[in-house]
Subunit: 341 residues, 2 copies
DNA sequence: TTGTAAGCGTTATCAT
DNA sequence: ATGATAACGCTTACAA
């Protein structure tokens, strides 16, 4: 059943049906009602594909997520949820593209095949092939995260440099002198993952500024790795009393390793991080952390994208958030660790 | 730039370009190379929308998820990931539709607008409007979950009835006599959520069979509710020594409430559940649970859907899994609780 | 081996 | 107020 069918049955032309539906030109009340009756009877709905072809837009946005095979972190999930939610609110559909690996067939399909009006890209690297490709095609896009030349694109991002710096300051204020940064996975950081590098930068300059002893390490995004990471840290750096981290997925493991080493948090050891709010709250003990407002960021990304789709030549907009650190249960005054315990 | 542009520049007709691309009819080596050169130079990619209109299929499947606003459980996330993954593997894109609430505009758009070739629906109720609607439209679909008349549709599902029954048997074998079932939220169950009802059925008949004292309760899908739920349970049923549950999101809260009540797991209290494997493993202590193979289920759902798309009239297929219970750290021999402690 | 042309279901520009 | 008709970009009979 197509628009022609409706036209025939209501005794009007196809254009009249189209106009009755869109309201873009006046249609007499009687014909409109007659058409509507037929539509209701047959349950007709315009074919979105045909409309997209004709109109040159799909009313769909692409969301480029990390490959689904490796589990997404809670923060990433928060972004996905908020983008989907914000898009649904303005009647946009979301096409998922799990990309970032090598042969991004899905990415190419979505982007080069013009299946979408614009794209939101997650987990951006300082040098990012997908961004390069998007720029080539001219398809409007917004990053959740930014490249090394951030002026040249629209993005929303978390100010990891600032946040880690604040964490370190906070820990230093509590008297901690030996502090570790637990970063995301080594591969991710090596591949130029922005937050990893910026967290590192924030860590280094604050450690220097406060004359602390800083050690940084990478850790894969899971609890087991968190355990191994902290065990190694405690072993190699007996004087360590605190951790700052952007690796939320590893935190439960850190807790475990600490407690198995006989250390209580926050009495013997402090942890401060960057995380999704509900995640931080639901940990036990609840994590002292900067709560990333994923909802706000995702909604803004969608809004920016819509604007770029409407007018691709507007100047780029940026949103960098540095939420305050919420004091919860994992940071306290430094207490010297007995290297033999 | 369209296929006509490529045709012009290579001095052939548009159909030749199309055939050179699809290989559906032989094209001489020279012309093919000439065409390919032009394509490479201009970076041409066929417009997926036009192709979809012509071919009558979109090479896209819809995935109907619970509204993104209320957080998805780990199990749900596991399904989403595995569907996206399985679809990507066979070059299908996934269009997300957060539906199930009241105003399912997104669902209507996707389904009635024929934006997809088929749909996978999550969180199916015993009576499900979306299933009814899909049946009306004739669009191929597969459920992750099943309605009250499961023969009439294709689905994959977890045998919650069997699994909860096994949990209860396991706990009974360990000597527990007073056992609670912690279900999903009251609204969900009231709305006819299949797993909730089937878990209940399994619980009731096994409790009867083993002559146990069973109490069932609902609990929202979050840690806080888990705390409240267990507090109430301990308060109202002093003899309770074990819980069986399908509410994974509430488990961290249950742990907390138990430990705050001075009860250790599994020495004083046992818990057995149904959950995603990594979730069960990463809890502390790791949860004795039936590990739902989300990967297998998601992949099967996609495979079934592809088959139904290819031949909408094949008989319905079903996959009901009842993974074994993995013994981990949360179940042990019953020990009488001191009602005054 | 290649070209011509119809048609997928819309929307929108002309007419009337 | 309404109708005829030309696109949108592609695939695929049907011809040559």
């Amino acid at each position: 059943m197509d628009i022609g069918e409706i036209a025939r049955r209501s005794g009007v032309s196809r254009s009249t049906v189209s106009y009755a539906l869109s309201g873009k030109r006046p249609v007499s009340k009687e014909t409109r009602q007659r058409i509507q009756a037929v539509i209701d009877e047959l349950g007709y709905r315009p074919n979105a594909v045909a409309r997209a072809l004709k109109e040159g837009r799909t009313r769909t946005i692409g969301l480029v997520i990390p490959p689904a095979s490796r589990r997404l972190t809670d923060l990433q999930l928060g972004f996905v949820a908020s983008v989907v939610d914000a898009a649904a609110r303005v009647d946009l559909d979301v096409l998922l593209s799990p990309s970032g690996g090598e042969h991004d067939r899905s990415f190419e399909r979505v982007v080069a095949g013009r299946r979408v009006d614009g794209v939101i890209v997650m987990e951006i690297r300082l040098e990012d092939d997908r961004v390069t490709r998007l720029r080539q095609t001219g398809l409007p896009f917004v990053g959740i995260g930014r490249t090394g030349r951030p002026e040249e694109m629209s993005w929303v991002d978390v100010d990891y440099e600032m946040l880690i710096s604040r964490c370190v300051h906070h820990l230093a204020d509590l008297g901690h002198r030996r502090i570790a940064l637990v970063n995301r996975s080594a591969e991710l950081v090596a591949s130029g993952y922005g937050p990893g590098h910026r967290a590192q930068a924030g860590f280094l300059h604050t450690v220097a500024e406060r004359h602390l002893e800083g050690v940084q390490t990478c850790c894969a995004d899971d609890a087991q790795s968190g355990v191994a990471c902290v065990e190694r840290l405690l072993d190699e750096h007996p004087g360590l009393t605190a951790i700052a981290t952007i690796n939320e997925a590893a935190i439960p493991g850190m807790y475990r390793a600490l407690s198995e080493a006989g250390l209580t948090v926050p009495d013997d050891f402090s942890i401060a991080g960057v995380s999704a709010q509900h995640w931080a709250e639901n940990l036990h003990p609840p994590l002292t952390a900067a709560d990333v407002p994923t909802d706000e960021l995702g909604a803004h990304a969608v809004e920016m994208l819509i604007q770029r789709i409407a007018d691709p030549d507007t100047t780029h907009r940026h949103l960098l958030v540095a939420p305050p650190i919420s004091l919860r249960g994992t940071t306290g005054p430094a207490r010297a660790r007995d290297p033999l315990s």
